[in-house]
Symmetry: C2
Subunit: 395 residues, 2 copies
Amino acid sequence: MNPIVFEKTKQAAAILKEKGIDLWLTFVRETSSGGDPVLPLIYGDADLTWQSALILTSSGDRIAIVGRFEADAAQKIGAYAEVIAYDESIRPALLDVLKKVDPKTIAINTSKNDVLADGLSHGLYQLLGDMLAGTPYSDRLTSAEAVISALRGRKTATELQCIRAAVEETEQIYAKAYDFLAPGKTEIDVHLFMQGLVRERGLELAWTPSGCPIVNTGPESPVGHGEPTDLKIERGHLVHFDFGVLKDGYCSDIQHMVYMLRPGETQAPPEVQRGFDAVLQGVQASFAAIRTGVTGKEVDAAARSVVTGAGYEEFKHATGHQLGRLAHDGGGILGPKWDRYGELPDLPLEVGQVYTIEPSLQVPGYGQVGLEEDIVVTEDGAEYLSTPQTELFLR
Amino acid sequence: MNPIVFEKTKQAAAILKEKGIDLWLTFVRETSSGGDPVLPLIYGDADLTWQSALILTSSGDRIAIVGRFEADAAQKIGAYAEVIAYDESIRPALLDVLKKVDPKTIAINTSKNDVLADGLSHGLYQLLGDMLAGTPYSDRLTSAEAVISALRGRKTATELQCIRAAVEETEQIYAKAYDFLAPGKTEIDVHLFMQGLVRERGLELAWTPSGCPIVNTGPESPVGHGEPTDLKIERGHLVHFDFGVLKDGYCSDIQHMVYMLRPGETQAPPEVQRGFDAVLQGVQASFAAIRTGVTGKEVDAAARSVVTGAGYEEFKHATGHQLGRLAHDGGGILGPKWDRYGELPDLPLEVGQVYTIEPSLQVPGYGQVGLEEDIVVTEDGAEYLSTPQTELFLR
């Protein structure tokens, strides 16, 4: 049994009811050549080769119609109460289920806005249209965008466990990376060292390898540029990391800060400490602002105003994004109402959503400061999934 | 520069002319969350995040319209003579290119039949419709199915090099596997040993790990069942392998045979040898039947009639399939006119296509015999990419 798929397919019924959708149809074929992005949530890793229909309804039906040779695999997932095997054409079984459920609305995986809810290819959409032609169901199709966004965002117990496990691995790798730091080593050296630890542990990187981890040393390191350079670590540098791993299908995404003490220093210079404190207070302000129903832009404003209020330039990115199967997991964000974020900052926070909180600023002459923590929205606020960095690490 | 993408985008012009298509438009977004299966051929591994258009024309134009931040990466691929960067909306640049080329036909990646030519999602199809609304181009859309099938099938020099390299690795792993065979070891032992060698060499498996390699020992091993069992190798068994690796994006797919000598035997028993010879002659008959313009069903019949003519039961699968980025690479097959193969056995062979040839039969009391070689169609026949197994290996 796949516990995540079991939990997510159960969770779908309430979401369908909430969104006013009677039946949700995920229609796929030959998924080994590129499947629907929703499959890991509602079916798992197994391939679906012939045309297959995964049907979830607001009254809790969980029905899979699959090719004969994949019926056993579908049963083993343990999430579908009914597995219907077919030999020649999926159409009779599909129409049969639709007749029994008689849904007023049928949600399909198509969306102009959200790539994660747009897994139905145009050819398959046409095939589905052919199959439904002459039935009352062809006029009842609608987009599953809101359903998929809610299902993806509201993490189950097992999903949270997976993210916690990814966070723990990340923190263990971070601990080794601090001891690896030394003057003369380059950003690329540190980047490759950390990637080696990821491989040793049988993990994958949470995003594109060329920028995972990001390592920035000192004031010359380009801001917002993902790829590490051959700039050398020097005493008196701030070293900034942005790093995450993928473990059992779920990601972490954490930023940490180290200061390289100069001879005679036992702590960071005051202006460095002041920058670190402003970012830390920004994280804490956003964390404190989180509760269900609050919008992303309100949470964003909390960290943003701390940083600008301390006299630093406003950071040019959102305060946070959702985290899950992807490091940037789609849906609502903790961001300002800038054009490029569209309506996403207006969405209210929901219990079970996992967000990053990651304000940042520049300390002239020393480098950039960015902290990033991972949190989950709870019934009465938020809980840290990562161990917050509350003091500047000194090396 | 990506040599494969360079070659394939060049090759596209002649194919477009041949198929009567003026312009081929691959329209994608956020490909890191699941891209179009044609991208590895015409763009490579780099992500395309904002809506992006890859445009190839029958007169040889190669134009990429991509988001500002990915324009450098698009340039570096070295295959697009013109890279147009946009900031806010792709629509003006897209319409501008269409006006300049003024195509009578615009092929898009949508297909009811072929999943490898159906990479356009329905949401993106709708967005494209919105963009073209009110222009003469909205009525000129057609399917790129025939273009993609030809482009995928006709391998370039670099693609053939990649397949040869995958074949060579496979043969080296096979050589070690023969020496690993011993009475008492199970099918699973051999399977895991070979997978270990794949990992050691930094390769990937050519298909689903649970059945790569397939290992069958003796007469009790289930035929056509992909997963190895805990059946033990015994003296007097035929051991059958089906195995391939993925190297630099291209696959091999090879079947080999070993006979486990009983005490006192210096060669296989006559009925085993007779079965091996029939399969070998089947491979050679199909190989000899290959030339451009011949249909897949004719090549299939050559091997099939050798096996049935020798008195064995007819094998219940096609004699061969195309091989490339996938072990089963789509397009025409070397198969009989059975319903489940549709029109695919009627397609004529083309220069540069890579096929497997893999007849099989059962030797009662000893096990199954299957050989599989990889070949490329040439101007005047065919050439082996694998080293044909012409004698039963004895251990």
